[in-house]
């Protein structure tokens, strides 16, 4: 991402700063863990409970770092490496997306596609890690995670295509933002609103929250995919989750609500999406995996398809 073809130590330091501190790992992990706390606290208040103190999620991570790492017999390497794969891809998205929001000029190539793939990688990492643990409950969790991925990717792609069509076929997030700055957010049109609704459900599934938390289903599978993880790898998965809780809504905001990205508005929009997610999570039971597939491949896919057609008609 270095322009001009040469690097200086100063620029390299800057790159490291971008990826590790702000807007990369450290910043997004802080935001994600705090968002996780908001989720836990609001959920608790909705359920007549007190809820944890603000630092609970940080304490949990620190506590996990000090715990013994138990590795099941089997594929040790994949079991221990997959958490890093998930974390690194989440950091990459968080850092690059953050830089693009700061200045749309930081956009590169067809970064929309890159982000889309990187955002799927944490789920893939979870699948690889869990299936190498050779636990029957984890394997059921893995099969559910795969089906979940298959279920929500199609409508998500369709709703992203809607956005691409609306910004004249550009696959660059920078130009999608600029387009929205000129013509207003994508959500303020029939096709955009429809695609946004679909994207909210996909986001819920991507984050494995309420209604779609089939892969971890603690009452059925005892945390399914994560069942064999402990200590540091588990902490890394939790961090990845926190990062995703920050990144995925940000991605949706950039695509659909990108007209003004000043810090105050950005925070307001993020909190709004978070509130929607918490509300869906707390007012719905968990679906069965076949119902998840049926749901996503019917209503949201059809709706997103309709959104694509509407966008092509210029609505």
């Amino acid at each position: 991402m270095v322009k001009g073809g040469y690097t200086t130590p100063e620029k390299e330091m800057k790159e490291i700063f971008y990826y590790l501190i702000f807007p990369g790992f450290l910043f997004s992990a802080l935001v994600g863990l705090m968002a996780g706390w908001i989720d836990r606290k609001l959920t608790a208040r909705l359920q007549w409970r007190v809820g944890p103190p603000w630092h609970q999620n940080f304490t949990d991570i620190v506590k996990l770092l000090g715990k013994e790492v138990i590795v099941p017999e089997g594929a040790r390497l994949t079991f221990l490496f997959s958490p890093y794969l998930g974390l690194v891809s989440a950091i990459l998205v968080a850092a690059s997306l953050g830089r693009i929001i700061i200045s749309p000029a930081n956009s590169f190539g067809a970064d929309l596609i890159v982000f889309f793939y990187l955002l799927s990688l944490p789920a893939v990492a979870l699948i690889i890690g869990a299936s190498s643990s050779r636990n029957p409950l984890a394997s059921v969790g893995v099969s559910r995670e795969v089906k979940l991925l298959l279920a929500y990717e199609l409508p998500l792609i369709l709703s992203i295509i809607t956005v691409v069509i609306k910004s004249n076929g550009s696959l660059q997030i920078g130009s999608i933002i600029q387009q929205q700055m000129f013509f207003g957010s994508n959500i303020f049109s029939f096709s955009g609103a429809l695609a946004f609704l679909v994207a909210i459900f996909c986001m819920q599934a991507k984050l494995g929250l309420g209604l779609f938390d089939v892969a971890e289903a603690d009452q059925e599978l005892m945390c399914g995919t994560l069942i064999e993880y402990s200590g540091l790898p588990l902490a890394i998965f939790k961090l990845t989750k926190a990062l995703m809780l920050y990144t995925v809504p940000l991605f949706i905001i950039v695509l659909f609500l990108g007209c003004s990205l000043s810090p105050a508005l950005l925070i307001a929009k993020y909190l709004m999406l978070l509130a929607i997610m918490i509300l869906i999570k707390n007012t719905n039971p968990r679906l069965r995996i076949d119902q998840v597939l049926r749901f996503f491949w019917r209503i949201p896919t059809l709706a997103a398809g309709a959104a694509v057609i509407l966008a092509m008609l210029g609505l």
Partner: protein
């Protein structure tokens, strides 16, 4: 190609609070067979009961199950009173009312408990917390009337141990008045929610014939349209003088089981209200019972989970020589064998929970099938093993003992 794996539910699993082991044989997500293994928590209550005298046994049997902790003592005292000539002939009027009130209060708290757990099992924790929040005033009333939230120690042969004070009656009525809207809320939130319907309708179905074949009892049977309720079929307390209905549903799926329990809450509230209005003032609450003559007696009570049956045989001494208990969950849990097979894992876990299983009630002696490869150890063998291990540890740390 089919590839069968075993998904274990238990002996310790977040789904079941008690130690119980279900082996689900699974192809993909579909459950093709299920093994139910019990005996992790057997306490030998029936045998213990034979070493207690008649007045001590209620305290023992109410510890069979913390949730049905009035049904078991009630069924026991009914069995002893059966030897003496029947509940109605010896127990004073006021005690009969108090017994009915306690029994129905217990049904309310048990059904609310199950409702919360059912919400938890389908991943709907809001229902869980709300149900348990509204259950709390019921437990407070229990504490006020009996001194305990659970294990009430209210029942004795010939009457009850504690009176419901006059000043407690308005408090109980107020609790019931506040509970009704809460139950309305649950009825709306559960019976009209499309997602819950999607999850529960047509799942874990027990047909009418299967209910009869597997001797299923209680709300689980009533949800399949089998019209049995001990309160009506073999009345006890003052229940037959009150106006109430047996709730029946037809389909036998988990949704119907939920509906039956929610609607039964209304009936219980109504029964307690009527009893509180009709209870005679200032009357005695127990009759003096001197000796239990030789003979046999049975007591049947409609516990929140179904028919609770106690059999007592007396030889004229002060303790039972045989005490047989058949609790409802023992009958209901077995029916998982037909209702849970064929569904997915998600459905199976729900189905296991839908009979409102109480494993303390279900425990029986486990018979170990001895094969050539297995060594069976009893308690003493295990203690010996542990002593040997301690010796080895001592050798490591202190050197060889003298």
């Amino acid at each position: 190609m089919s590839h069968k794996i075993i998904v274990p539910i238990g002996p310790y699993h977040p789904l079941q609070e008690e130690p119980e082991y279900f082996q689900l044989y699974v192809e993909g997500e579909r459950v093709v067979d299920i093994d139910i293994i019990i005996g992790y928590n057997h306490r030998g209550i029936e045998k213990l009961s034979e070493s207690k005298h008649f007045d001590q046994v209620p305290f023992l049997v109410e510890r069979i199950c913390g949730i049905c902790s009035s049904s078991h003592p009630y069924a026991y005292v009914l069995a002893v009173e059966n030897i003496l000539g029947g509940e109605a002939t010896i127990v004073p009027e006021r005690a009969l009312y108090i017994r009915t009130i306690i029994d129905e209060l217990q049904r309310i708290h048990s059904h609310l408990l199950w409702l919360g757990l059912a919400g938890h099992f389908i991943g709907y924790n809001t229902i869980w917390m709300w149900a348990w929040k509204y259950r709390e005033p019921v437990l407070d009333c229990f504490e006020m009337v009996t001194g305990n939230r659970n294990n009430y120690a209210m029942f004795k042969v010939g009457g009850v141990r504690r009176d419901i004070k006059d000043e407690d009656i308005p408090v109980l009525k107020k609790m019931l008045d506040e509970l009704s809207p809460a139950v309305d809320l649950f009825r709306g939130a559960i019976m009209d929610d499309p997602v819950i319907k999607m999850r529960l309708k047509g799942v874990g179905v027990l047909t009418r014939q299967q209910v009869i074949d597997w001797c299923v009892v209680g709300p689980t049977a009533r949800a399949s349209g089998v019209n049995i309720d001990i309160r009506r079929d073999d009345p006890y307390g003052v229940i037959e003088r009150l106006d109430w209905n047996v709730i029946l549903e037809k389909e036998g799926d988990i949704f119907c089981k939920t509906v039956v329990r929610i609607l039964e809450l209304y009936e219980s509230i109504s029964i307690i209200r009527q009893s509180l209005n009709k209870i005679p003032k200032g009357a005695p609450i127990d009759a003096e019972v001197k000796d239990i003559p030789a003979g046999e007696g049975i007591g049947r009570v409609e516990a929140p989970r179904g028919e609770c049956f106690h059999y007592i045989k007396s030889d004229g001494t002060n303790r039972p020589i045989r005490h047989k208990i058949r609790s409802p969950s023992f009958m209901n849990v077995a029916s998982d064998k037909v209702s849970a097979v064929g569904g997915t894992i998600s459905d199976a876990t729900l189905t296991l929970a839908a009979v409102d299983p109480c494993y303390c009630c279900t425990e029986r002696v486990a018979v170990i099938r001895k094969t050539d490869n297995h060594k069976v150890m009893n308690g003493w063998d295990l203690i010996k093993l542990s002593q040997e291990k301690t010796l080895r540890l001592k050798e490591v740390y202190y050197g060889r003992p003298e």
